[in-house]
């Protein structure tokens, strides 16, 4: 296991036999990957696994090109053969899945929520890798988190294009609060409208909560890709033909401005 900082390395102590870290500072792709090369040069790894996040994909690409590894991203199942891996990955914005065989050595980006989190009680050795040369100037502004982070919450309430004004997002936040969950939006609300710093979807956050509630969310593949591993999916949308109704557990076809206040009222009454 490699992590970019001592504190992070200590957090996973017990889960891995050998843990490597380097105090690398904010994400400089080439400095990070050169630390990884240094770790990998000390033993020959048949499989390198990265998270399917923005940074994980960047590092997977850099790392695997160096020694021409077969690479697959968006992987959610892995089966190992003698000299290869058979992996199942999502393609076409998560609408389809592809089965492919990768020769070893291979690099994988694993989708969050594909496997249960590991539990182990190993004796860990924590090793330091020397600091690497910076390849660029970096200034990092951490995102502001209002309330619970969506990718760590058990309930996620998401507002989509059906939400008419920023003011109306309060309704989404209130519902999330009553369910002790997090709120988020789809990409157009974050990027086009600027109502949130983060969003759920292929270019944003991937979530895998017990309960996902999409409100005024149509269910475009690039959004659903970030929510597909939710245990229960609920959709509230006035358009009966919205694709989200094809892949929800429970759906209400109706005006969100009637349905959501009704939900809030009922949940408050229970308390």
């Amino acid at each position: 296991m490699f992590l970019p900082g001592r504190e992070l390395a200590e957090k996973v102590s017990g889960l891995y036999g050998e843990i490597y870290y380097s105090d690398l500072g904010p994400f400089d792709p080439l400095a990070y990957v050169s630390a990884l090369y240094e770790v990998a040069s000390s033993f020959s790894a048949d499989i390198a696994v990265f998270p399917c996040t923005g940074k994980g994909r960047v590092l997977a690409g850099l790392f695997s090109a160096k020694n021409s590894r077969s690479t697959a991203t968006d992987v959610y199942r892995v089966e190992s053969k003698e000299n290869s891996l058979v992996v199942r990955r999502l393609v076409y914005g998560g609408k389809a899945e592809a089965n492919l065989e990768l020769n070893l050595p291979a690099t994988l980006c694993l989708l969050q929520g594909s496997y249960a989190e590991a539990e182990a009680n190993l004796t860990s050795r924590i090793n330091e890798v020397s600091k690497q040369n910076q390849s660029c100037r970096v200034e990092f502004i951490p995102k502001k988190v209002e309330g619970i982070e969506p990718d760590k919450a058990e309930v996620v309430v998401v507002g989509g294009r059906g939400i008419k004004t920023k003011e109306d997002l309060k309704m989404i936040m209130e519902l999330a609060g009553l369910l002790k969950g997090a709120w988020s939006v789809t990409r157009p609300l974050a990027v086009d409208e600027g109502w949130s710093e983060t969003w759920i979807g292929i270019t944003g956050l991937t979530v895998s909560p017990k309960l996902y509630i999409g409100i005024g969310v149509s269910g475009q593949p690039h959004h659903m890709m970030g929510a597909r591993s939710s245990k229960i999916v609920v959709a509230i949308n006035s358009d009966r033909n919205a694709p989200i109704f094809e892949e929800c557990d429970y759906g209400i076809v109706g005006d969100l401005y009637v349905v959501v206040p009704e939900m809030i009222k009922r949940l408050k009454n229970v308390k």
Partner: protein, 257 residues
């Protein structure tokens, strides 16, 4: 300044349909340049206008869609357009694609910048740009939402899962651009007509000393998630109340609230 823009025509996944067996109906699905790739080209054209640059558009594949993609890039304003002639381009490994672009850059270079989309419209792996950076030994800026190019360096704002990164890199560099970076221009009729006379140049794998790794037996089927699909109506206040009560009961029974 010399700039490569690496482009990939992709299926428009929002219009993708499947047959009853779950096989994707790719023949009837429209194919266009990916949104982020077009934004990458737009950034290159902005540099051409502000600082002066030769913009070379390249794609890996030889199908009609690949030729059309390069013609579109020429119509938008690229100076030269190439296809790297590889059959079954949809089935080759990402490292083959990255190697093709990197070798192309070496053979036709040198270049200051390689622009490409942060992810393709269909697979969205987001690894080609980083791979090309590692193969060429160029610096890397990934997922740029905003790019500002100066003579010898670029500044870029990138949004990642934990926040915003402002980078400043020296050239040569690979810069991957998101679909939020700009509004790609729509070519004028005049530009389209002019581009009709421009040649889409071809370059073969042997000219690039490239070995092609093709995936055998890729099976692609509809990704089915078992969902209950219990749909309730809320056409007025009364039915909304009833549906909400039912929904909350379902969610309690599921143990999720």
């Amino acid at each position: 300044m010399r700039i490569i823009v690496a482009l990939k025509p992709t299926y428009d996944v929002s219009q993708l349909k499947f047959d009853s067996e779950g096989v994707p109906l790719l023949d009837t699905c429209p194919v266009t340049l990916g949104e982020a790739d077009k934004c990458a080209l737009e950034e290159a054209l902005k540099v051409k206008e502000s600082l002066g640059a030769t913009v070379v558009a390249v794609t890996v594949g030889q199908s009609e869609a690949h030729i059309k993609g390069i013609k579109d890039a020429l119509a938008m304003g690229a100076d030269e357009g190439y296809i790297i002639k590889i059959k079954n381009a949809w089935n080759i490994s990402s490292i083959t694609v990255a190697n093709a672009i990197a070798r192309f850059a070496v053979v036709t270079g040198p270049y200051d910048i390689v622009f490409t989309g942060s992810g393709a419209g269909d697979t969205h792996s987001s690894i080609i740009g980083p791979m090309v950076s590692a193969l060429l030994g160029y610096r890397l800026v990934a997922n740029a939402d905003k790019v500002e190019v100066k003579e010898q360096k670029a500044k870029a704002k990138c949004t990642m899962e934990d926040g915003t990164y402002n980078y400043e890199v020296q050239f040569p560099a690979v810069i991957t651009v998101t679909s939020e970076a700009n509004e790609p221009r729509i070519p004028t009729l005049k530009a389209i007509l002019r581009s009709k006379n421009m040649q889409v140049k071809e370059i073969g794998p042997e000219q690039l000393d490239l070995s092609v790794e093709e995936y055998k037996d890729i099976k692609v089927i509809k990704h089915m998630v078992e969902r209950k699909r219990v749909i309730m109506e809320a056409s007025d206040q009364k039915s909304a109340e009833e549906s909400v009560i039912k929904l909350l009961t379902f969610l309690k029974d599921e143990g999720v609230i």
